[in-house]
């Protein structure tokens, strides 16, 4: 027995190496989304351009669509607008979830809806408008429930309102082809 004890460090090390080896082939940034295969969380949020119109999870059911979290302040989001617009022209339904940054009263920032509407309108006119409409998440409640870590992030939602895919980062032709296109097509049927 005493002799075997000296093999313990070796055995432990080999065990550790197995994990290091498998760790090499997985993306350390990748994380399993906690909302996958769950229904879209309940919410009631206004339309960005027509604030009287309230959107809820119920109202959005019926067609598969992409829910794209974005903001005019987010450089990467602006970069993906053009390709998303292309997708819209191919018939993909995309709904924007507008990520409003917190206003810091200490720094004299006040939330101004009219100014925001103008800004969004201008931006979409310039860079292309992929969105059927935009939902304004002023206090980031739905964004929090969805476990969004930053913008842009995109959720693929099926006809029953279930979240089928959660993509972190921008959508470009490569990402669409490799990760989202097939899933989106399968939901169409």
């Amino acid at each position: 027995m005493r002799k075997l004890a000296f093999f313990i460090p070796f055995v432990l090390f080999i065990g550790l190496s197995v994990f290091l080896f498998s760790g090499l082939f997985s993306d350390p940034m990748a994380r399993e989304s906690s909302v996958l295969n769950k229904p879209l969380p309940a919410f009631s949020l206004p339309d960005l351009q027509q604030p009287d119109n309230l959107w809820t999870a119920e109202k959005l059911k019926g067609k598969p669509y992409l829910l794209n979290v974005w903001g005019t302040w987010c450089v990467t989001c602006n970069a993906e607008l053009a390709y998303l617009t292309e997708l819209r022209e191919q018939g993909v339904m995309i709904i924007g979830l507008y990520y409003q940054q917190p206003s810091d009263a200490a720094f004299g920032e006040v939330f101004n809806l009219t100014a925001l509407q103008q800004e969004v309108k201008l931006k979409l006119e310039q860079q292309g408008d992929p969105y059927q409409w935009n939902i304004l998440d002023k206090d980031r409640t739905l964004i929090f429930d969805l476990g969004v870590t930053g913008a842009p992030e995109t959720f693929l939602i099926d006809t029953k309102g279930m979240i089928r895919y959660h993509h972190i980062g921008d959508i470009n032709p490569q990402v669409w082809q490799q990760k989202l296109a097939a899933a989106y097509q399968s939901l169409q049927e």
Partner: protein, 655 residues
Amino acid sequence: MIAEYGQLALTFAFCVSLALAVVPLYGSFKGNQIALELGNPLAYALFFLTAFSFWALSYAFWANDFTVVYVASNSNSLLPWYYRLTAVWGGHEGSMLLWLLVLAGWTAAVALFSRSLPLQFQGRILGVMGLIAVGFYAFVLFMSNPFMLSLPYYPVDGRDLNPLLQDFGMIIHPPMLYMGYVGFAVSFAFAIAALMGGKFDSTWARWARPWTLAAWMFLTLGIMLGSWWAYAELGWGGWWFWDPVENASFMPWLVGTALIHSLAVTEKRGTFKSWTVLLAIGAFSLSLLGAFLVRSGVLVSVHSFAADPDRGLYLLAFLLVVVGGSLLLYAIRMNSVRSQARYELFSREVLLWGNNIFLLTATLVVLLGTLFPLVHKELGLGSISIGEPFFNQLFYYLVIPFSLLLGLGPWVRWKQQQVQPLLKPMSLVAIATLILALGTMAATQSIQANLALLGLLLGAWVGSSAIFELLQRLQQFGSITQGLTKLNASHFGMTLAHIGFAVLVVGVAMTKTYSVETQVRMKAGDQVELAGYQFKLVEVYDLKGPNYSGEAAELDVSYQGDYVTHLHAEKRFYPVQRSVMTEAAVHARLSRDLYVALGESLSEDSWALSLYVKPFVRWIWLGGLLMSLGGLIALCDKRYRRRTASLDQKDKADA
């Protein structure tokens, strides 16, 4: 042209490392004198070729030779010359070349300073260093070559050095850190050479001691500089982040510290033999693991180099061969070794055993905290992250018993200690501890039962115990002045390092408890009060540097109406890398730091500023500095420089 010569020298160096890995080891097993004697010249050749290669890369940086891909990616013609030279180790390939230079340097140093060792043993050490070198030289030459050229279509200017690395701390932090990491390769080589020989008397431990101390000293300095750099450069007043890469440097340090103490037991008392060998293997294995974690992209960290799975795979294979191989050799060779020395329950052996237990538990905590997210994910349990609270909590629990033992340790004799003679000095130390801790607390803050008081008590306990013990030891030589000349340097080194630890503990506890900060919006002329200090923003103006532009803020600070200092904080924009950097303004005193970081411009005339008052934060680095200074003094001990057998005998009699 120079870069091609560098490449050539590196290729030759690789060939030399192959010879170094084979020839002396062959000689040691076949008893071939000539092969053994070839070890030294090979080690020197390895060093000179590597040094030339390193010089060639430095020259390419100096001369802005953008035909070299590595230079083009990490330098820029506008970069000041001193940063162009330190940019040599600003990226993966160049830092690996620095690693090689340090490895070759240690190998040459072993060849130079261990000529008095038995030739066979020396040959084995050099052979093991050669085996390690082969792995690293092949890695650099075939997978991370810094001399790759982009001819004929080379860029007209470079992409610039990461602005985070354009700082004085960064100039010396990596070389010191690598000196530490690679230095443990020498302790490792000594242990493996002893395993090959199968002879485990205490001599190998004595030979390995100065090398381990030297490596430990550099590593301590390197970690301290890294912490200081983060504090000055990252702009939010933090000094340790439990980042995977920091952890990767901290683990070898913890095991190295345990090794220093365990080597002392093995040398003086001939026990802990198998344990010491395992620690020597462990310290270097953790250095290698660190290199793997940083350079493979397995973990997410601010320090990570661009991830490349091929490099990761190679390093993992290398890790498996070196660590797996040595642990296997350990398992096969070590199980026949038994220690004979006896010792009682209350003896220095037992206390040092306690030291090792706590240091290794700490290592385990850091290792688990660093790797658990990886293991968790690979087991399919999802992503988790382990942050500061986990490490802080566990380290609080560990540092209390550790410090109590540390205050007691130096007083206790080998083999057996009677309790009675210690009662008087230890009560004196305890009284001094209370006076010091409560006095400091009353002088700087109000007395409260909190983390700061705990830290002060532990620090004062360790510190006053170390000083009292030194005084008592000096008096044994007749008088203190006589003792100063007669007491050996190791003892002074030990005392200083222990005081350094005490200073560090006090610094951490005070900073953690009493730091205050605020984020404010200020206009020129505005005044903000924090912890009694009045910060007045005098002006903000535009700035133009050699490779950056930006803004600078000037502040006046006063304390209860009295002018204290003027602060100058900068925010720089580096156009080539398109990144913004904070140059925090720091006014440092032993008792506190004032720290100001300039943030965003909020409107025409107002700015976001972060203000911090951090009591005792200097003590953290002062503690680290004292520890490495202690290591340096211990290294100067005459004992390590006499090798003849008769003196070895005398040493044993002394112990």
